[in-house]
């Protein structure tokens, strides 16, 4: 894992992230008028723990919502539009609730919304595994610079950025000791890309 650069500014602390997810959970229930039919799907990698956290909050707010039976993950690797350019990535598993997603209200969850291309890929992937009644989008951070007509329904924080900056999301489930790194608490940080030519990669999103 890359060390956090010195010029990184933390824009969301662990508590901020938790509050944002709580608000998103309430907004999802408000927009859906209750928990009926909701399926929460995270986009690997960091959308998956976020989806699980949102689902746990939904269950806490509405005990009728069964988080375990309505949470999953949707891999979009094989639907990306940059497969020819980028190095080949190993796809992550797609796990859907046993009841499937036909007729459900699918809430896609990702960490950072940027160009919108991942979400475009996710919509295509979703199309191949079922026909939801509706698809919503929840993101922790919307950093702008959309390249497609896509917008989020639920946003943790709108974060105006320049393309020369990098938004780094660190989550305990993935970047903590139990995952691949040594991060000790959740954070969203923003930093300059020192050398854009070499910094392009997963973290640049």
């Amino acid at each position: 894992m890359q060390a956090v650069p010195r010029d990184a500014r933390t824009v969301l602390s662990a508590a901020d992230i938790d509050r944002a997810l709580t608000r998103i959970a309430h907004e999802i229930l408000e927009a859906n008028r209750g928990p009926d039919g909701i399926v929460v799907l995270g986009i690997p990698r960091r959308g998956v723990p976020l989806a699980e956290r949102i689902a746990a909050k939904l269950e806490r707010i509405e005990p009728g919502f069964d988080a375990a039976a309505a949470t999953g993950q949707l891999d979009v690797t094989l639907y990306r539009d940059d497969l020819r350019r980028s190095t080949s990535r190993t796809p992550a598993p797609t796990r859907l609730p046993a009841s499937g997603i036909d007729g459900a209200v699918v809430v896609l969850v990702d960490d950072v919304l940027y160009s919108g291309r991942t979400i475009r890929a996710a919509l295509d992937a979703l199309n191949d595994v079922g026909r939801p009644a509706a698809v919503r989008l929840a993101v922790l951070v919307d950093r702008g610079h959309r390249e497609l007509p896509i917008r989020a329904d639920f946003v943790g924080k709108n974060l105006p950025t320049s393309t020369a900056e990098r938004v780094q999301v660190r989550l305990l489930e993935i970047d903590g000791p139990a995952g691949t790194g040594e991060v000790t608490e959740d954070a969203v940080a923003i930093m300059d890309i020192a050398d854009p030519a070499t910094a392009v990669g997963k973290d640049a999103r």
Binding site: D75, T77, L78, Y79, R80, D81, D82, L83, R84, R85, S86, T87, S88, T90, P91, A92, P93, T94, D110, V112, L113, Y114, S115, G116, R117, T118, I119, D124, D128, V129, R143, H145, E147, T163, P196, A197, T198, A199, V200, G201, K202, A204, R205
Partner: protein, 337 residues
């Protein structure tokens, strides 16, 4: 990964990447929409200069599931039978628009020759070259074994290797590219391989290979292996008298009903029987062994499509920047999110 030529030079990391990718590919086969857009607009040519049914249709199914266009080219009834050289053939195929060439050839080393020749810029996937290698067969066998191991441990196969697994490969080792590819790959993945064959069908120099060698199948089975891989007796390569008669081969080297019982009593409760197909029932494998629940032949066929999807995806994605994958100017790449 630009080409897949052999398993001998395949690193553990690359092998696991192919197997992990294949796991996700196989999930697609269970869906209602058995199609992925990953290779849309790419062309895969199956250049089969030696007879093959299952490998060719397996590659064809794999390419089609990834939305690639497939062109099948065989030796018979084509320009090759008119005496066209391999160089001219592949350059013609590339001029038609091939992005990857899946080649089966009678000559050992043909795939490496093609990949290193500079004749073409396409990716080359070895689908069997002479008696040298058949890497995708070994990969699908490894995928089958890994799933078997994961089922036994009650874990997910992703990311795991074959540490501690004992695999016996039986039969015509001398002519078998499947045996060679499996030996290298399974050893890389941490399995212990034992080769069992009559001395006439054991290659010269086998003692240099990283494996045990035995000249008694009964002994090999009594040691309680996790898997017994039967090789097909390749009558098309048996131009000399390697064994006195088919009946004698069956008696000494066939997986007969008696040996099936021996395998079951050897303590290996869940040992599997593997066969690359097509099976010669009654020669190297008895009908009871062929139809046994331990026999993974059909699972191997299904896994073959997944493994070939993974290989085609990995050799064909990121090819525009091959060599400098992470050093593309940001202007040339779309940001992702």
């Amino acid at each position: 990964m630009k080409h897949l030529l052999s398993t001998q030079d395949l690193s553990l990391g690359d092998a696991l990447r192919i197997l992990d990718t294949a796991e996700e590919m196989s999930a697609v086969s269970g869906r209602e929409v058995k199609k992925l857009p990953a290779l849309r607009g790419r062309t895969v040519v199956n250049l089969f200069l030696e007879d093959s049914t299952r490998t060719r249709i397996s590659f064809e199914a794999a390419a089609k599931r990834l939305s690639a266009d497939v062109i099948n080219f065989t030796g018979k009834g084509t320009s090759v039978s008119k005496g066209e050289s391999l160089k001219d053939t592949v350059q013609t195929l590339e001029a038609i628009g091939a992005d990857a060439i899946v080649m089966r050839h009678w000559g050992s080393g043909a795939a490496a020759q093609l990949a290193g020749s500079g004749w073409i810029t396409s990716s080359v996937v070895n689908a069997g070259d002479g008696t040298h290698e058949h890497p995708t067969q070994a990969l699908l066998d490894a995928l089958t074994l890994r799933r078997h191991l994961a089922r036994r441990h009650g874990t997910a196969p992703r990311g795991t290797d074959l540490s501690g697994m004992k695999v016996v490969i039986v039969g015509d080792i001398l002519h078998s590219r499947v045996a060679r590819s499996n030996l290298w790959l399974l050893t890389t993945l941490g399995a212990e391989v034992t080769l069992a064959a009559p001395p006439t069908l054991m290659p010269v120099g086998v003692e240099q290979w990283p494996c045990q060698v035995t000249y008694s199948l009964d002994e090999a089975i009594a040691s309680g292996p996790d898997a017994v891989m039967m090789l097909r007796v390749q009558s098309e390569r048996m131009h000399e008298a390697f064994f006195p008669s088919a009946a004698e081969y069956t008696r000494s080297w066939g997986l007969t009903d008696d040996r099936l019982a021996l395998l079951e009593s050897a303590g290996a409760d869940d040992a599997v029987i593997m066969h690359p197909g097509p099976m010669n029932r009654g020669l190297e494998i008895s009908a009871a062994a062929a139809d046994s629940v331990r026999n993974t032949a059909l699972e191997q066929v299904a896994n073959g499509v997944s493994v070939r999807m993974a290989v085609l995806y990995l050799v064909l994605s990121g090819t525009e920047t091959a060599g400098t994958p992470d050093l593309v100017p940001s202007a040339a790449r779309r940001p992702e999110a």
